[in-house]
């Protein structure tokens, strides 16, 4: 039930629902497509600009790194040529004073040499084959000399003595592994002329300081890594990557280097990255710049805000569209509802006119149409009634010529027989009958007059066919002045005369008119053969030349009564074979006075 009610309700909102859903879909589609296109476009713009600016930045980083490397290698070469340092690292057999002196001097010498590195927080460390060593700042490196000789950094250095090796040492730092990791550049100290090895020189710089070469350029999602040829991360703003092997990145870097590409778009760490790389031959390191595209783009675009803005705009416009289309369709819906209430035959449902201008016009036009429709119907009814009356009167005029012929023939016989009296009476009855049927224009007549017509008709029939069929009249006193349509009883009497007594020489017909409450009841009863109700149609339709009227059948009587007084009145036929026929005509009781009054 509920569902049906909802369905009914929805039926009237059909237009609104369609309109709104089209709007909804199109607004969302427009917003979404705009958003996507904008996103794609800005992504492209971003990638283009980013790759340009970042390759410039890479060049800058490279330059600053080269500068540092230049300072370091200059210092290294100074240290290599320093006699003081060579003596400190090679000589043995000292007295304490000499040793003190040597340590003092080497400290001064190291300080002097280190001055070329003054702009960088770099500690210099030297170790010699005689076991002597010195560090300018042990807070940086090394925390202890224990194991330095066997340290992988030292070993690596000795494999290629003339090369400056950049490596990361995070093995000996207590607790905080990454933040205190140290980048160590190492080089073997070798006698210039003889090529004899006499010590190792280390330049140590905290990775956090080393990082400052490029840290200014990095942001979240825009990271820099320095990777050596083994794939080990020597320095990075991504602290957690320090010291790990990133072979994948190394591959990309080498690929970029080989193909001389500007950049590569790769999937790294399950995220879309743009990767730029430059090889620094002096360091033997790859400078890798990783850009997390999605993240950086989201920083630039603030996807969330844009999305929220889009959603907000969509919602606001939807609300407006909802309200507007609701307003427009509501008057239409109302109109549709009111119109649908105009059921069959009920054209009085006028529409209350309100809403937008167009709707008002439609409503007005509709009401106007209803007006005209009602007018037309009234007119139509009137015409139909008139037509009917005309038809009836026409029918009444059409007195069967055979009847006249036969009646006149009977009168001729009477005259020939010399029965003048009877002949004149018959002529009189005929005249009176014709006068009442043709002459009287009014539709209804009083029971009295109808009775006269009936008697005249019966008299003529008696003259023609003999008086073996007796007709008796029982009229209620008060019914004499009652009105009834002309010639409604005559067809039944005629019917009884010609059909009820077939094969019999005599019979009775009773005509009874009485009042029953507000009704006038006319009954025609015969004691004839009767008939089966099924045969009624044929029976009534059959026409013979003896009939008074050529067109008025019994069926017409019923139609006429219904037309005049409504459906509750009419003719009731009760008949069965061998028992005769009982016909009851019921019409409203209207006295002649009433007629004249109205």
């Amino acid at each position: 039930m509920k569902l049906r009610r909802i369905a009914d309700k929805l039926k009237y909102h059909d237009l609104f629902i369609k309109m709104f859903s089209i709007m909804l879909i199109s607004i969302i589609a427009v917003a979404l497509s705009t958003w996507i296109v904008m996103f794609r476009m800005s992504e492209q713009v971003f990638i283009d600009t980013f790759s340009i600016t970042n390759s410039k930045i890479m060049t800058q980083i490279k330059t600053s790194m080269e500068n540092m490397n230049y300072a370091v290698s200059m210092t290294a070469s100074n240290a290599n040529t320093s006699g003081e340092i060579r003596r400190f690292l090679t000589s043995s057999q000292y007295t304490t004073i000499e040793e003190l002196n040597s340590h003092y001097k080497v400290t001064q010498e190291m300080r002097r040499i280190q001055s070329t590195l003054a702009t960088y927080p770099i500690a210099m460390v030297i170790t010699g084959i005689n076991g002597n060593r010195h560090a300018t700042d042990t807070t940086i490196w090394p925390p202890t000399y224990k194991g330095l000789q066997e340290h992988s950094i030292t070993k690596q250095t000795l494999t290629e003595p003339r090369k400056l090796h950049y490596q990361l040492d995070e093995s000996t730092i207590d607790g905080k592994k990454n933040s205190e990791a140290v980048v160590v550049a190492s080089k073997a100290l070798v006698e210039q002329v003889s090529g004899d090895f006499y010590g190792v020189l280390y330049f140590a710089m905290k990775e956090a300081e080393f990082r400052k070469n490029y840290a200014g350029f990095t942001t979240k999602g825009n990271d820099v890594l320095l990777i050596n040829s083994d794939g080990v991360v020597i320095s990075s703003n991504l602290s957690e990557r320090l010291g790990t092997k990133e072979l994948e990145l190394l591959n990309y870097a080498q690929l970029i280097d080989k193909q001389e590409d500007e950049y590569l778009n790769v999937e790294w760490n399950n995220r879309q990255h743009m990767i730029l790389s430059a090889y620094m031959p002096n360091y033997d390191l790859y400078l890798v710049n990783l850009i997390d595209k999605r993240y950086v783009l989201s920083q630039m675009l603030n996807v969330k805000t844009v999305a929220l803005l889009c959603v907000a705009i969509v919602i606001v416009s939807l609300i407006i569209v909802f309200i507007m289309s609701r307003r427009i369709t509501r008057s239409l819906t109302l109109l549709a509802r009111q119109m649908s209430r105009v059921t069959k035959r009920n054209f009085g449902n006028y529409i209350t006119v309100k809403g937008s201008n167009e709707i008002v016009e439609v409503g007005k036009a509709y009401n106007l149409m209803l007006d005209e429709l009602n007018e037309y119907i009234a007119e139509l009814l009137k015409t139909q009634k008139e037509q009917r009356n005309a038809e009836l009167s026409a029918l009444q005029m059409q007195i069967n010529p055979h009847f006249l012929y036969n009646t006149l023939a009977s009168v001729k016989i009477l005259v020939q027989q010399g029965n003048r009296e009877k002949a004149s009476a018959t002529i009189n009855a005929l005249i009176e009958l014709l006068q009442n049927t043709i002459g009287n224009a009014s539709e209804t007549i009083t029971v009295e007059q109808e009775l006269i017509n009936l008697k005249n008709y019966v008299y003529i029939n008696h003259v023609r066919y003999g008086e073996s069929i007796h007709v008796s009249y029982f009229i209620d006193e008060q019914c004499h002045r009652a009105q009834l349509p002309k010639l409604i009883i005559q067809p039944f009497i005629e019917n009884a005369f010609f059909h009820a007594f077939q094969g019999r020489s005599d019979g009775y017909i009773y005509v009874m008119i009485s009042r029953n409450g507000g009704n006038l009841v006319c009954e025609v009863v015969d004691n004839g053969v009767g008939f089966e109700p099924i045969k009624l149609d044929q029976h009534i339709k059959s026409e013979t030349s003896s009939h008074f009227f050529s067109g008025i059948g019994i069926r017409n009587v019923n139609d006429r009564i219904e037309l005049l007084y409504g459906g509750s009145y009419g003719v009731n036929i009760n008949s069965s074979t061998g028992k005769g026929t009982h016909i009851t005509i019921t019409i409203p009781f209207i006295s002649a006075k009433d007629i004249t009054k109205t």
Binding site: T96, L100, P142
Partner: protein, 436 residues
């Protein structure tokens, strides 16, 4: 539509009401700060160096203070000592207080150079702490013109850390090194070198800490009492110290080093039999757990030819200073409640960090009298604390490190055979021209 409008209007009203409320609350808190009372959300910034020692001590203090004063936020920032000196100088020179912290740690040797140059930039703490509660020798560096500016923190009390096993091998006991002179120390050193082949101590030609300890034990310094006039020539204690230094070198019992890693490495690897230095080395000594039970701490040796020399001296040590900036009262209150008077707090410092404070009352605490298994059950803290009280009070003045730079060079000349008198006179002349 009307409803919607009214709702919007109402929410605006509500918002403005809220914001005006919050304005009021911030105003009151600002007034609180300006008024000097312990206002709401006070933030104190502290600058210090050395994560394991000073920073750790400050964090402990922070924890204790936070229990009672939850509304004060203490923000400890770690910097290298040189950075702090630089930043402090920069801030004080520029005259703005914005960049300065509320509390800063300054080494005692340098303290006067700041206090005398910028007395108005520091906040006197006489109303918060009682100078007499602290070791006397700490008061000189931390006060200026009769006003107490610093809250004395760690004692740099010096001791002689010795390897008992090497002593034994050479036929000595710890008792033989108790209250000795440097001359006796050298003799024992020679014996040890002969028997075990180990050097007696390490020395860095660039660091004259040993000289400083020697002269302070005699109540002398590089500068006159005024803290400004160089006092190098005719400084008997300094002469004695220089001679003693040369004797030690001549005895061939020194392992020469030139950096901190070598210094620590030498005693950790068992290359030396003793370390004459400040007590803050204890943690580094104990770091080599294998040497547990092989160490003892004996009183600092005296200069044989200087009568005033006592068996107590100092090396390093620093103190907390409150800068004269907003929030100074809160900062002073914080120091008062912790470093200034809290005996229990000092017990925690000793047990957890090994930092010996200079609050006299703290020495009575339980932690101070506890024996240390690493040092064979010696009550090292109590011993060091008792020596602390005997440290002669000297005025480090403003130029300790400036003079030392000159002396390092002259010491080499002295070692190479130049007459002591010439060396010291040269140094005196140089110092007089450089300082001022």
């Amino acid at each position: 539509m009307k409803k919607l409008l009214t709702i919007l209007l109402a929410s605006f009203m509500l918002l403005t009401a809220c914001s005006s409320n919050s304005d009021k609350s911030t105003n009151t808190s600002n007034e609180g700060t300006n008024g000097g009372s312990t206002g709401k959300k006070q933030e104190i910034t502290v600058w210090a160096w050395d994560k394991a020692f000073n920073i750790a001590a400050m964090e402990t203090a922070k924890g204790i203070y936070a229990q009672k004063n939850a509304d004060v936020t203490i923000n400890v920032i770690e910097n290298a000592q040189d950075d702090i000196i630089q930043k402090l100088n920069a801030g004080l020179n520029s005259g703005t207080t914005k960049t300065l912290p509320n509390i800063v740690l300054i080494e005692d040797y340098r303290a006067q150079s700041f206090l005398q140059a910028y007395p108005d930039s520091f906040f006197a703490l006489d109303e918060f702490i009682n100078a007499a509660d602290f070791a006397d020798y700490k008061i000189g560096p931390t006060s200026f013109e009769g006003k107490q500016y610093g809250v004395p923190f760690d004692s740099g009390v010096a001791g002689l850390y010795v390897r008992t096993d090497y002593l034994q091998e050479a036929g000595y006991t710890v008792d033989d090194l108790q209250d000795v002179t440097w001359d006796e120390y050298i003799e024992i050193g020679k014996a040890i070198k002969e028997k075990t082949g180990k050097d007696m101590l390490t020395q860095d030609p660039n660091d004259l800490g040993l000289i400083r300890m020697m002269i302070q034990s005699a109540g002398a310094w590089y500068l006159q009492e005024d803290g400004k006039t160089p006092f190098i020539a005719n400084n008997a204690a300094l002469e004695d110290a220089f001679n003693t230094y040369k004797n030690i070198m001549d005895a061939n019992i020194v392992k020469v080093i030139s950096d901190w890693s070598q210094f620590v490495g030498a005693f950790n690897s068992g290359d030396v039999a003793s370390i004459p230095t400040g007590n803050w080395i204890t943690a580094s000594v104990k770091a080599e757990a294998e040497q547990s039970g092989k160490w003892a701490i004996v009183p600092f040796p005296t200069l044989a030819n200087t009568a005033s020399s006592v068996h107590a001296s100092n090396l390093g040590g620093s103190s907390w200073y409150v800068m004269n900036v907003d929030g100074k009262e809160a900062a002073a209150d914080f120091l008062k409640e912790t470093f200034g008077s809290n005996v229990d707090f000092y017990q925690t410092l000793v047990t957890e960090i090994g930092a010996i404070g200079t609050l006299k009352a703290a020495a009575q605490g339980e932690a101070y009298t506890a024996p240390d298994e690493f040092f064979n059950g010696q009550t090292t803290i109590a011993d060091l604390a008792s020596w602390t009280e005997q440290i002669p009070n000297v005025n480090y003045g403003m130029h300790t490190y400036a003079v030392e730079d000159i002396l390092v060079v002259e010491m080499q000349n002295f070692m190479n055979g130049t007459e002591l008198e010439t060396v010291l006179n040269n140094a005196q002349t140089q110092a007089e021209t450089q300082i001022r």
